[in-house]
Symmetry: C2
Subunit: 379 residues, 2 copies
């Protein structure tokens, strides 16, 4: 399975589309706002003079209501700073990057309005937005063309299923599981850790020549708080429940057991220490901060804590559907699951999955751990 | 009707798609190859040293088999020159521009293979391809970022229906016609000429700050040889026949007569003198050459001149279908005709149109006139 060809968020605007189910992403982006401001101000005031032209890249921009959210925020910060310092608005070169399978048409059709709005609100026609298709695990931008690199909810996707766990390896090393689990043998964990280290290091090596000295990078990705990746802190439970849902389909004769054994998600949720060591090892960037935020699985839906117990169960079961829908559209990567298990089981799978998620939410407080990493390109 | 929202080549790979009916465009691109070589060599050898980074834009790139043809040719010329002069391969920044309605997803999915091929054949990973959505009648690129601008078969599209002839003007000035015709009053011709002058001037003004001094521009567009736009030289006959086909639908009660009166194509085929004067008036560019090439309507289909008369008629009628299909996909702008007259008449319309084109080909040698303009950005 070629991750690059298969991986994309759900298209369009239907019930299971990314566009309608990306509230968690929006939540994550908003938690990083203060860090964003800090980074942009640093770029603008670093040399006492605002640069004439600023290159910005959003890596893994996806296509949905959040796509232009970060860029809008960046432009607002730049505009406010220019007004405060009396500088003229710089030329902005904005690159929206994602895999070639991303729905760029959807983004591009919303751009004329976006550009028009900047023109009206900021009086600037000096903003150039382009689409850059291709994996961020590799060079994507010209030399020294970027002042600021942003990536949200993307770097937890590996460039490939960890070596030795891929389908064609015909391995049953991670039997019955589709990601690191409490029952996973150490070889599985090693394979995941090693793939992440290789990918993240390649990511940094690729960005290094693309960024100007002093340029800033703000990354947020799914992670975990604990060093041990099998500690139950929500960083892998979404996969555990999906594997459970698949095993129910096996018992119903709808999925072959070997299909689960041969599937391993190209995903890894690192801990802050792993990120820090990887950045230091690569050597081109200074770590300003690494922070971990907890976000409840159902954070994007309004809650009512005074609800009675039975009501609460019903409420959480319906939340289960909502959360599963979010995961279906985004986090679990429907396109990839579908590619491996076939389109015909998807609705059954996610129906069972919704029930399992609802039940899980009833029993536990389930959280994602979101890591926010702020880096500076060394001079 | 907003040209920017409606104008695009036919999507996908179906029978009436642009991807399957773009042979004339391919023919046009290949006639300009020697001019392309001349321009690229000039950029590379102008300063005695090959630039470290070269910015290239293809404006109106569309989405089909021709989209990467020009870029491939440019890369081949650059590579050959580097080998000859012993220079290292420069960084290439390639921008593919078209309106936001263009099918960029189609292009982007073919890019990984394209980049891989350059890497294998030229040993270069230094080529960055981006998509730039938006009208070329306006700024689209950062200051001084482009060394070479190419546009093929796009600049004959106006930014809007000429002022005074638009649908909402409720004018019957150009009664029964949809473009300049022998029966068009002089006000219609004046409106078209003036719209083209405004648009082409805006095009040049927009490119002027985007290009480096000494940068080159190669434009090819539908045009005409004669000063008088109503001279019958094929530059407007495609529209004349389409208006005729529409009038047949009126007689069948399938289209209202007013619908034709209120439709005017946002298209203009200039003569070389008009282009020359416009470039000189704008003032940022030197005209190196303006050339006119004739291309037969059915140039993309093989011919057999020894065919008997009756056979020839059958042959030409079937060519009529082919040519109409090409025009349906590209030249006549199906998306725009459909937007005005409604989807339900499209098949009837193009069936009648095929017959008229076939008959026309039987009676006359029908040619497009393609103008090729080579410009240099003044220092």
């Amino acid at each position: 399975m070629e991750v690059m060809q298969v991986l994309h968020m759900n298209y369009g605007e239907g019930e299971t589309s990314y566009a309608k189910n990306s509230n968690i992403q929006r939540k994550i982006i908003s938690t990083t706002n203060s860090r964003l401001k800090e980074a942009i101000l640093n770029i603008m005031c670093n040399n006492k003079k605002v640069p004439e032209s600023i290159g910005i890249a959003d890596l893994g921009c996806s296509s949905g209501p959040n796509t232009l959210m970060v860029v809008t925020e960046i432009i607002n910060i730049i505009y406010a700073t220019c007004r405060k310092t009396g500088s003229s608005f710089p030329e902005l070169r904005v690159s929206l990057n994602d895999l070639p399978g991303n729905d760029f048409n959807y983004i591009f059709r919303s751009l004329p309005k976006f550009i028009q709005k900047i023109k009206e609100e900021k009086g600037s026609e000096n903003c150039y937005v382009v689409g850059v298709p291709g994996s961020f695990y590799g060079r994507r931008f010209p030399n020294k063309s970027l002042h600021f690199v942003h990536s949200s909810s993307s770097l937890h996707w590996l460039s490939q299923v960890p070596f030795g766990l891929a389908t064609n390896a015909r391995t049953t090393l991670n039997k019955g599981k589709i990601y690191i689990s409490q029952t996973s043998p150490s070889d599985v964990i090693k394979a995941y850790v090693s793939q992440f280290q290789n990918d993240f290091s390649l990511f940094l090596r690729s960005r290094s020549p693309e960024m100007v000295p002093g340029g800033r990078m703000l990354l947020s990705l799914m992670g975990r708080s604990s060093i041990d990746p099998t500690t139950e802190d929500g960083c892998y439970y979404q996969w555990e429940l999906l594997a459970h849902a698949l095993s129910i389909l096996v018992s119903k004769g709808l999925v072959e057991e070997e299909k689960i054994d041969s599937f391993n998600a190209p995903y890894y949720a690192p801990c802050p220490e792993e990120l820090k060591i990887a950045v230091e090892k690569e050597g081109s960037f200074i770590v300003n901060r690494i922070e971990a935020f907890e976000i409840e699985w159902d954070a994007s839906f309004s809650s009512n804590s005074s609800t009675q117990c039975e009501d609460k169960k019903i409420l959480l079961l319906s939340r289960g559907q909502q959360v599963a829908k979010t995961i279906r559209a985004v986090v679990e990567l429907e396109s990839m699951v579908e590619n491996h298990f076939g389109n015909e089981i998807m609705d059954d799978l996610f129906s069972i999955y919704s029930d399992l998620v609802g039940d899980f939410l009833y029993k536990k407080k389930a959280v994602y751990v979101n890591l926010v990493v702020s880096l500076t390109r060394k001079n």
